[in-house]
């Protein structure tokens, strides 16, 4: 099962005011800690955490926040992050941060197909692992899609 995380809702619950942007390290830290609490139960069972992080409604994400949230979630535990609702702007912040750490995450396009984001070697390894674990499979169109709900 995939853990669903509504990033906009987590942000709203984490910062005062009505801001829609994932900016600054302190904000990133608070948001990450909330996500860590949400996925903690799954970690205790020893399963690999698979989390779908939905960025719909999130305005801007800066490099510091991308590092504090996405990179640290991946660095500190065996996890697969599936990013959905991603804009080009979000991608612009997240991609270099992942590449810089030699990490990779997945982007789920609106049609359900997957794209890897981050360091090339880590991206290839991530896809291989997903297929090996039967978390993802090749679609008739030649792309990959999640098999998990």
């Amino acid at each position: 099962m995939i853990q669903y995380i509504d990033m906009h809702a987590v942000l709203q619950a984490s910062v005062s005011g009505v801001y829609a942007d994932l900016v600054t390290r302190p904000t990133g830290r608070v948001v990450r800690e909330r996500i860590e609490q949400a996925i903690a139960g799954r970690e205790r069972t020893g399963e690999v955490t698979v989390a779908r992080m939905d960025f719909t409604g999130v305005g801007c994400i800066d490099y510091s926040c991308a590092d504090e949230i996405v990179a640290k979630l991946l660095r500190d535990r065996p996890a697969v992050l599936v990013l959905s609702g991603i804009t080009d702007g979000h991608r612009e912040a997240i991609e270099p941060v992942l590449s810089g750490h030699g990490l990779a995450a997945l982007i789920e396009r609106p049609d359900g197909t997957l794209e890897v984001l981050g360091a090339a070697a880590a991206a290839a390894a991530l896809l291989d692992e997903l297929v090996a674990r039967r978390f993802a499979a090749r679609t008739p169109g030649g792309s990959y899609a999640l098999t998990l709900a």
Binding site: V15, Y19, D21, V23, G59, C60, Y63, S64, D67
Partner: protein
């Protein structure tokens, strides 16, 4: 005794070193300072936030725990005065200076040139407010007037956020940010958007010293600290993810042919695009506290537009 610090008539990043020299000389005796801007004809956002940083640094302890504020003579030219007020300068200056001269009441910046009036940055919350405001106000202008595509406008908010965070994370005090769009006839004959950020905090050298000075040995100083931060992407924090901010700003500016210059202490470093004739690194400048950041993004495409 009061020492005089003349504000250059054309006050921008080019004349800032002259201002810093006069300021450093006047401030060393711990006398009260008078910043004289009566003859000011123009000030860029960099000049305005730099003047606030000077005011912040010139506040000094007076008797019985009170703070004696420096004096500021406001510009006498009505247009200049009006522009400084629209840019939000006097609203911030009122807390730092004892202002002399007739200052117009501050109005909301309704003109398109002022994308973000001079805004204080003291905490992460302020950065949220700045990013939120700039996205509401600047997106359409960046796209229509600078021909930046939507990707670039999002990157602009990121760059602004990271520049402001430098104050929150490293300055040890508050600072200011201002964003303006204007037609830069002298240099480019194109429209530009300018982000100016300044504080009078500890500066890059002091911030990076505990983790970086050994590595640089005898070379360690303001210039080496700026080089480490902007070129090598190092941070005072040992966390491997740190240093992303300035690296991200650099990537963004390379992509959109922009410029960044950072002045701290006695040095100034710049990533210089082809359209500019600035030097990449200057050392031995007059000392000025904190850090002052200038980011310029030019209109994309034809210079004849």
């Amino acid at each position: 005794m009061t020492r005089l610090v003349e504000v250059p008539a054309q006050f921008d990043d080019r004349s800032f070193d002259q201002f810093a020299g006069v300021f450093a000389d006047a401030n060393k005796d711990d006398e009260r300072l008078l910043f004289d801007a009566h003859a000011a004809e123009w000030a860029s956002p960099y000049g305005l936030v730099g003047l606030l940083a000077a005011g912040q640094a010139a506040r000094r302890a007076a008797a019985a725990g009170t703070v004696e504020r420096p004096l500021l003579t406001a510009p006498t030219n009505a247009d200049v005065l009006s522009y400084w007020a629209r840019a939000g300068f006097f609203r911030e200056a009122a807390e730092l200076f004892e202002i002399h001269g007739k200052v117009p009441r501050a109005r909301a910046a309704e003109e398109s040139e002022v994308l973000l009036p001079v805004t204080p940055v003291r905490a992460a919350e302020d950065v949220h407010a700045v990013v939120s405001k700039i996205q509401q106000r600047a997106s359409a202008i960046l796209a229509s007037e600078l021909s930046l595509d939507p990707k670039a406008t999002m990157g602009f908010a990121m760059a602004l956020s990271e520049a402001c965070q430098n104050i929150v994370e490293h300055a040890g005090t508050g600072g200011w940010v201002a964003v303006q769009a204007y037609h830069w006839r002298r240099k480019l004959a194109r429209r530009v958007v300018v982000i100016a950020v300044a504080d009078a905090g500890v500066g890059f050298r002091h911030s990076l010293e505990p983790t970086q000075s050994k590595r640089f040995g005898d070379r360690w100083g303001d210039a080496a600290a700026l080089e480490a931060a902007l070129v090598q992407g190092v941070s005072r924090f040992r966390d491997p993810g740190r240093g992303q901010g300035l690296a991200g700003i650099r990537r963004y500016l390379v992509r959109w042919d922009g410029k960044i210059a950072i002045r701290s202490g006695t040095a100034r470093i710049a990533i210089v695009p082809k359209w500019d004739d600035d030097v990449p690194l200057k050392d031995g400048l007059p000392p000025f506290p904190g850090a002052q950041v200038l980011i310029i993004i030019p209109e994309q495409g034809s210079a004849e537009r």
